[in-house]
């Protein structure tokens, strides 16, 4: 297994650092998947269906000047590593204003991801900072749990309002209730609702726009205004929103009801088509 990559551009480095900070805010440990054309950060939460809760995809060409990798074997040309997300974000924090950043897989006493930064300094010689982040290699038999979540055809998918606004609304709602109901329809309307014995608060967002649906035909006779709703844990939603530091160009939410009646909510945030973050939240309908 081998991996070497180098970032030289300041803006790319900045973007990569912010994504790493976002991952660090979402979970303590994360999995890094390295493949020939992509870099993925995967978070596994103990969901009822045992799937991935967050999937972040980065096109390596958009970040790295040099990228070489050799997977576990020829057929399985991928590397799965587990690391503490805060270690990576802290290592990258020192790399602001760096001339170059190099990441490679090494084995110094134990397997490490070595982040080596060349910093600009006032004098002619540059400073070299090295961080060895301990990692664990994930064996091939566990790879199946870490695959990209299949995005089934959603019933409703809608573009989200400005995430900052949504975050401040949800934060205030957190004080009243633990569960939030998200309703959306194909007419560009989104409602965030909380209900308690004493009070019911709803925030309405209009004219949000809907992304084009994959299979138009099945939904033509559907009522455009029919609201699909999902109950979710407010704290999980807030965790996802709090981690959003990268200003997205596109943020959307997809709602899906499986045949079994299980509902899932998928949030996807894209930035300039260079990075995609998808977060899956399961339904937690409470029967009163």
């Amino acid at each position: 297994m081998r991996f070497r990559a180098k970032i030289v551009d300041g803006a790319c480095l900045n973007h990569f650092t912010r994504i790493s900070n976002m991952i660090a805010k979402l979970a303590k440990t994360c999995t890094l998947r390295i493949s020939p054309d992509k870099l993925n950060f995967i978070l596994c939460d103990k969901l009822a269906n045992g799937g991935v809760s967050m999937w972040c995809e980065l096109e390596q060409e958009n970040f790295f000047n040099e990228f070489q990798m050799e997977g576990v074997s020829a057929e399985n040309n991928e590397i799965y590593l587990e690391l503490t997300s805060e270690n990576l974000s802290r290592a990258l924090k020192t790399a602001q204003n760096a001339r170059a950043l190099k990441i490679k897989l090494t084995n110094k006493h134990f397997p490490c991801l070595t982040v080596s930064v060349e910093l600009l300094s006032m004098s002619s010689s540059s400073r070299i900072v090295t961080h060895d982040i301990p990692i664990k290699v994930i064996p091939r038999k566990l790879w199946k749990d870490l695959q990209e979540p299949v995005v089934p055809d959603p019933d409703v998918s809608i573009y989200l309002p400005v995430l900052k606004t949504m975050k401040s609304v949800v934060e205030k709602m957190k004080n009243i209730s633990n569960h939030l109901v998200i309703e959306a329809n194909l007419d560009g309307e989104l409602n965030l609702k909380i209900e308690t014995e004493l009070v019911c608060v709803t925030t309405h967002f209009k004219d949000l726009g809907n992304p084009p649906l994959a299979s138009e035909s099945t939904h033509q006779d559907r009522n455009m205004e029919h609201m699909a709703e999902v109950h979710i844990d407010i704290r999980k939603l807030l965790q996802f929103l709090a981690g959003q530091q990268v200003n997205p160009t596109k943020a959307l939410c997809m709602h899906r009801i499986c045949r079994s009646g299980k509902k899932t909510l998928l949030f996807r945030v894209e930035t300039n088509e260079t990075s995609k973050v998808s977060s899956v939240l399961g339904d937690e309908t409470i029967f009163l």
Partner: protein, 401 residues
């Protein structure tokens, strides 16, 4: 016995020194001498020592006197002020240094050995005065015997560089290793720790020798010391805007971090881990000694012995600010009660005394101090008047309670 006066910006530096020393220890010695006011502290495991010496010219007014004890065999032993303060008492006073710097006109620190108290007074605008009375414990200050000049390795760097390096290390890491060769300098996580914790990140930073103001390495060395104290030293150095000098030798021998401005001299001595061959499980204790007699000690830099003088009065201002005998305080209250005739009489006497005093700075004050029960005539007129005015206007009692 100590009395000193500072302005707002000087208080900020003084406060930063206290804050830096608070990271080393929970107790602070206030040690005034002819050389200035020294703040000293030692940590509980005796592995770190800090001393900040404010020279007399740092203050607007600095006055120090040692009690001369007449012993039977006619050897005058000079007793310095043995003052140990709890950091918990003194640190909260020097909080919000920026606002202190802006708002105070003057800060006065003086001791009252008869009551074992240190009094810190802040004078704000509009006549507002804030007074803190802190009780001190009688304790002989400790001093480290360490000669910086014989160290083989000396570096001088801007504090910014160290601050950048500190960012690399997490607060969970206790020790850092400094490795030098004649060409470069490297600060890295201690090997000991990263071996034990498989989850810890190992970091290192290489800096070229041309980033240093002064870089003299006698031999390749790697020393390991505690990281916590370094942060305190850094905040102080940023306040003084002076470069930090690092003096060190082989592993096991202490490391000295020194900041030397014209007015303030700070020295922080940290113990380092001994070498593999003679490895101790913890950094070796510093060599400390108590000040029995001032004359016996060899201080860090100065070779000469210090002899106590009966009295010293060092002042920046031209106006003769006389010394402040203990008796002054009791006398003032008497004056208050006397009323105007007494004051006039006193005034008359005082003016004469003042003129004489101007010429003989050393002798006259000396005699004043030792003579007990002297009347208010011995007081400086101006000083007394201002005190009386203040006490009458603000109702503050200056007498001994």
């Amino acid at each position: 016995m100590l009395k000193c006066v500072m302005s707002g910006s000087q208080v900020k530096v003084f406060g930063k020194a206290v804050q830096a020393l608070s990271r080393i220890s929970d107790e602070l010695w206030l040690d005034p001498s002819k050389k200035g006011l020294a703040l000293r502290c030692v940590n509980s495991s005796r592995s770190a020592y800090g001393c900040v010496l404010f020279s007399p010219v740092f203050f607007q007014h600095y006055q120090w006197s040692a009690l001369v004890k007449m012993s039977e065999n006619e050897l005058d032993t000079t007793l310095n002020l043995k003052c140990k303060l709890g950091m918990k008492s003194i640190l909260p006073i020097f909080r919000c240094l920026n606002s202190l710097e802006r708002n105070i006109e003057k800060c006065k620190i003086f001791t009252r050995s008869d009551k074992c108290k240190v009094v810190i007074q802040f004078f704000y605008r509009h006549g507002i005065k804030r007074t803190h009375n802190i009780c001190f414990q009688e304790s002989q200050p400790l001093q480290v015997i360490f000669d910086k000049n014989v160290c083989t390795n000396t570096l001088m760097i801007q504090p910014r560089l160290l601050a950048d390096a500190i960012v690399l290390f997490t607060s969970s890491q206790e020790e850092v290793t400094l490795a030098v060769t004649p060409l470069n300098f490297c600060l890295k996580s201690s090997n000991e720790e990263s071996m034990d914790l498989s989850n810890a990140v190992y970091s290192e930073m290489f800096v070229g020798s041309d980033e240093f103001d002064f870089f003299q390495i006698g031999m390749d060395t790697e020393i390991t010391f505690c990281f916590k104290e370094l942060k305190g030293i850094l905040t102080f150095s940023e306040a003084t805007h002076a470069p930090i000098s690092i003096y060190f030798d082989f592993p096991g021998k202490p490391l000295a971090l020194s900041i030397d401005d014209m007015l303030v001299e700070a020295n922080f001595i940290l113990a380092t881990l001994a070498d593999e061959s003679s490895r101790a499980s913890s950094p070796q204790s510093l060599c400390l000694s108590q000040k029995r007699k001032r004359s016996d000690l060899i201080k860090k830099k100065a070779g000469k012995n210090i002899t106590g003088q009966a009295l010293e009065c060092i002042s920046r201002k031209a106006a003769p600010r006389r010394l402040y005998p203990k008796e002054t305080l009791t006398n003032i209250s008497a004056v208050e009660n006397c009323g105007s005739p007494a004051m006039k009489r006193a005034n008359g006497d005082i003016s004469e005394v003042s003129e004489n005093s101007v010429s003989n700075t050393e002798e006259v004050p000396g005699s004043l101090c030792l003579r007990k029960g002297k009347s208010e005539a011995s007081l400086n007129y101006r000083l007394k008047k201002s005190l009386i005015e203040k006490s009458l206007i603000y109702g503050i009692s200056i007498e001994n309670s």
